[in-house]
Symmetry: C2
Subunit: 414 residues, 2 copies
């Protein structure tokens, strides 16, 4: 719907712009903020006064450049707010407690084997409570919990993502209202996102994507996923599954894949299948971190897995270049950095021979910066993202009778 704006929302928009400017380029003086945002110094004074009072920013330093009064540098106050990220898939759960600067303050991880929804919800709750207890925080300081699940996810009527339509990978997980179940138990807002998109959001907010407006994120989890950031915001697609290249059908069946699968790209990146194949060759592992040692040992099964997977992936990377034309393509997830780097290097060798000269410029292929906790860091950004991102939507007027989410919105003071 086309929705008008009003003064209150113009102000909220400016508050978010100021906060985001400080976060991305700070610490900054008030005049510098004014210069960057095209707001007047007076307006910046007014906004920063409220942000200081709300404990979201703090005075970092006093510096002087040349003559004149010294600048008061303002920066984000890391302890101004916290957020929890929980990344769950059929093989593991990782939980992190993150501060406003994106620093991971607490971390917990456990290897599991396809939990039932009941078990999982209990586990998610206890992880959350333990992480908060470890940091000795009051519940009010935690703005919310982000939960990541493997895609593709479905969207329920109410607009809330609650279901998992991935019967093979997460059996028994159809129609599970994760959001309402968990938020009832915890009493704070819960956000759900597929782990690939979440990792992309994390990269955008706290990684190398901070200054890249449009990029694709190739995510290696238990399988293969993808997320898309367009004009600085996560782009979900119409059904919420944009970038989901894991289930893209591949033309030729490969003898090494299970025969009961319709051949699809994600099968080449399925970790349990890799573990099984390594097991056949006499190497027993159960955690992606163990792959690092195998790689430096030059394990032939692993090497072949990397090469086959990368070769299958290459045409899709080309497809991303031609269809989406992003500034960069990130590669990240639960695989060790060295293996991701090996894949990127191989892609950089393969792709030029596939491209046609007419292309002016090609996107950079980059290793993601968040490491193996990318997904949990990503989902942890969801509560902050929802409150803070200066998206056009925040310009829209709030309908008067709308059920005030303002109770939980940390910017309610503005």
């Amino acid at each position: 719907m086309l929705t008008g704006t009003n003064l209150q929302h113009a102000k909220l928009y400016n508050v978010r712009i100021v906060l985001e400017t400080i976060r991305l380029y700070g610490p900054l003086s008030r005049v510098e903020i004014a210069r960057r945002t095209n707001l007047t110094a007076q307006t910046v004074t007014n906004i920063t006064r409220q942000l200081l009072k709300s404990n979201l920013i703090l005075v970092r330093d006093h510096i002087q450049n040349g003559r004149g009064a010294p600048s008061v540098l303002l920066g984000i106050k890391p302890t101004g707010a916290y957020s929890i990220g929980l990344d769950l898939d059929e093989t593991h759960l990782t939980g992190v407690l993150m501060d406003l600067m994106g620093t991971i303050r607490q971390r917990k991880s456990v290897e599991i084997s396809l939990p039932s929804p009941d078990e999982a919800i209990r586990l998610l709750e206890s992880f959350t409570r333990e992480l908060i207890a470890l940091e000795q925080l009051p519940m009010e300081k935690v703005w919310g919990v982000g939960v990541g699940l493997p895609g593709p996810l479905g969207v329920s009527e109410g607009g809330v993502v609650t279901n998992v339509f991935n019967p093979k990978a997460m059996a028994g997980w159809n129609n599970v209202p994760v959001v309402s179940l968990l938020s009832q138990r915890l009493g704070i807002p819960v956000f759900l996102e597929n782990n690939a998109s979440a990792a992309a959001i994390g990269e955008r907010w706290f990684g190398a994507g901070r200054h890249i407006g449009t990029f694709f994120y190739v995510f290696f989890g238990a399988g293969l996923g993808g997320g898309l950031i367009i004009n600085g915001q996560m782009y979900p697609g119409f059904t919420g599954n944009a970038g989901e290249l894991g289930y893209f059908p591949v033309v030729r069946s490969d003898a090494k894949l299970n025969q009961d699968d319709r051949p699809h790209l994600g099968a080449y990146f399925n970790l349990p299948k890799l573990y099984a194949r390594l097991g056949e060759s006499g190497v027993k592992i159960s955690h992606p971190n163990e792959l690092e040692q195998l790689y430096s040992d030059g394990n032939p099964v692993l090497n072949e897995w990397i090469e086959t997977g990368t070769d299958q992936l290459a045409p899709f990377i080309l497809g991303i270049e031609y269809l989406i034309d992003p500034q960069a393509i990130f590669f990240g997830g639960r695989l060790p950095d060295v293996i991701i780097r090996a894949m990127v290097n191989r892609l950089q060798r393969i792709l030029p021979s596939l491209r046609i000269h007419a292309r002016v410029e090609s996107p950079e292929l980059l290793c993601a910066t968040a490491g193996t906790d990318a997904a949990s860091l990503g989902v942890a950004t969801l509560p902050l993202y929802t409150s803070f991102a200066p998206v056009p939507k925040s310009m829209e007027k709030k309908v008067k009778n709308a059920k005030a989410s303002s109770k939980t919105n940390p910017l309610k003071a503005f």
Copy 2:
């Protein structure tokens, strides 16, 4: 850059929202506009007063539903503004004069053969002047000229698209500052866009895409192009070539293609090549409209061309589904409707067998509504689009010293 907003721009945003609401859903009463936009009735009264004074809207009717004062229905005034669209490629030039409602009032077309930039600029100018003369309009009523060229286009340093990097298809057209050359001669704003993206914009504004926020547009021109609308706005990509699937390399070389080409998808849809192949079989044609007769005659060369092209296209359509996840995929351009429909029907047969069950929903495949003038209609919308679309950018504060484009901006009154 992150830019704050202020009262003036919030107002401009609301003006655009009101205008767009009337355009899409009108004629509407003021209260109805207020209801749809969440603006107050008083605000709508103020804004519509100015729009009436500016001659952009008019009173269409007085109706009453039940008791109470009758509603005054407001609608877009078609003659409130005009715009010119010029679609140029190596084989033809089509020019249209469009009113504010998207109705084509005048039309001119000529078949040409790879004009030099000099010849082309002269031709574009004379087309523009003739179209305006035919409608007997003063120059001030024409808000601008949109020019469409085959992609991929490059972007010059100043941010203005001026160059054509398509040496094969448009030889001699490197580094031609089309925008500045033509706007100097005409004295009104000139906009340049690749014809596929332009057709997508046209479909979004005046076609079936009016109520579809996110779609892909497959464009059949002299070759194959593509355009992308995301959240209601044209998405150009980082280098300006998103959706440009014409130059996507295809794996297997086809004997029927020229050997000097690197095999790419667009070669299967190249019209001059089709004409040549038809010529070999004894059928001489030179205009896409003549294909309609051939198709109803069941010409075997044409049928095979359609089938081969569609089969090659199918995996890319699947790629669009998985990567971009749009609500719909439109097919349009200079080919006759029956041929486009045949391709869409064939795709609808092929695609289900390629998809994997896990996909929840697939985008609709739709024939575009603008007919063979899609591209010229599309570029004609560019001047209006730039002035009117309620894009987030219009929320950003204008820098004070910025070279006032307001001289030419029809909304300067606000």
